[in-house]
Symmetry: C2
Subunit: 238 residues, 2 copies
DNA sequence: ACCTGAACACCGTTCAAGT
DNA sequence: ACCTGAACACCGTTCAAGT
């Protein structure tokens, strides 16, 4: 045929629409084909299978993240912005985090986000090896957080109320600290919670970076009574 | 009938076996029934549906985690142990992390782990509100990490090699920091990587806790020239 | 109380065939 | 080059019926 009925990007857009309407479990090749006014097997011309389609959708989710490369902000400010953008991008579509978490896409969009994170960590003074691990940590945090945020959201797959009562019964009886933390655990102020967890990571980077720097230049500080060294307990590992 | 053919825990055990053999995608009610020598609909007598079955499997995964309550170890040592136990438990069965991440079970086994984490953070001096957020952060990290560890493991669902070459092409051309970090990104020394990320969180807790303590007792430190305060840049938020 | 048989309403995927 | 029609081999779930 001279004029193809659909193009690849049209399929992806339709998939995003369908995702918003039906959720990930409702994102079906048959329904997708129906929305595009074609037959299900036709999709195999554009994608090798459902997984490749999902991968493309996941890639599309982070299409607009970190587009204008951060200016000369400090590294922690950069990281906060990247994290916020990534979270917002995942929140933009129903089950966004679940979609992204299930894929390990290697694409421009994904690597651009990764690159921005690595850059931020480099500015913080952490070496490449740690930086990559830290990037994954941040990514895991965001994905886990938004997955829960969306699981408890308007399209929740399970009965939140019944789960809460189950928690109350168990916690009240046997788990005092869970009981005491109940309010924070079921807090729906996701912005605040997201920030708290992210600041934890940022604080960790700050300390790890300063420790690394101290070890890298021992002659500068040796015997000078470095600030904070006195009240630091001896480390015990393993 | 007087003698039931199967009990609930036998179903769960069979499900774990099937999970190891076939993975999460192969964990099917029909196959499970076949392994138990019953018909698929019979499972609905013991479970309300597949999700409840998966929830029970997820619960079983962490059955033996944090059983002997930690002795008088310092909080960071406790956290390291909990994290290591949790990771090992998830690694014990194929797709363990994926199974657990998909569920939000409220059970004794899950709350016991949560309780141990909250306890560790309390010992570190963080308040309950932060402690719950931190617990989730740690959990997200572990789940994300092990999911990737298992995704790249012996039963990998995708072709790792082809993904690596795709990464190389992209990174070499346009993403220098990813290119430089390639070795660490594809490192299979998961023990070391897991530790690095966990220490990041622990370092964060240490700093956040010390900052909170400082703010909680400002009269003690006011005007005394607190160590490190001089070279700390003014904070800028939001 | 516990299990079966048959059926329903779906899936993803393959493949020869159309245009 | 792009799409269809028909079919295959599965799914989770329901439900009346058996014992």
């Amino acid at each position: 045929m001279k004029t193809p009925k659909i193009r690849r990007d049209q399929v992806i857009q339709a998939a995003l629409d369908l995702l918003d309407q039906e959720g990930l479990d409702g994102l079906t090749l048959r329904k997708l084909a129906l929305a595009l006014d074609i037959q299900a097997p036709s999709l195999y011309w554009h994608f090798s299978g459902k997984q490749e389609l999902i991968d493309a959708v996941a890639d599309a989710l982070v299409m607009n993240v970190v587009l204008p490369q951060s200016p000369d902000q400090p590294w922690d400010s950069r990281l906060r912005q990247i994290a916020a953008e990534l979270r917002q991008a995942l929140l933009q579509h129903r089950d966004g985090a679940r979609v992204f978490a299930g894929t390990y896409v290697v694409s421009d969009n994904v690597l651009r986000v990764s690159e921005a994170m690595l850059e931020a960590f480099a500015l913080a003074g952490v070496d490449v090896s740690c930086a990559s691990t830290y990037s994954f940590s941040v990514l895991y945090y965001i994905l886990g957080f938004v997955m829960e945020e969306q699981a408890l959201g308007p399209h929740s797959a399970f009965d939140v109320t019944s789960r809460k009562t189950a928690f109350e019964e168990l916690a009240k009886r046997s788990y005092p600290r869970n009981w005491a933390a109940q309010e924070s655990i079921f807090s729906t102020d996701f912005d605040a919670r997201f920030s708290t967890g992210l600041e934890l990571i940022i604080a960790g980077v700050k300390q790890q970076a300063s420790e690394t720097a101290r070890k890298a230049a021992p002659l500068l500080n040796a015997g000078k009574g470095v600030a904070g060294a006195a009240r630091r307990r001896p480390e015990r590992r393993g």
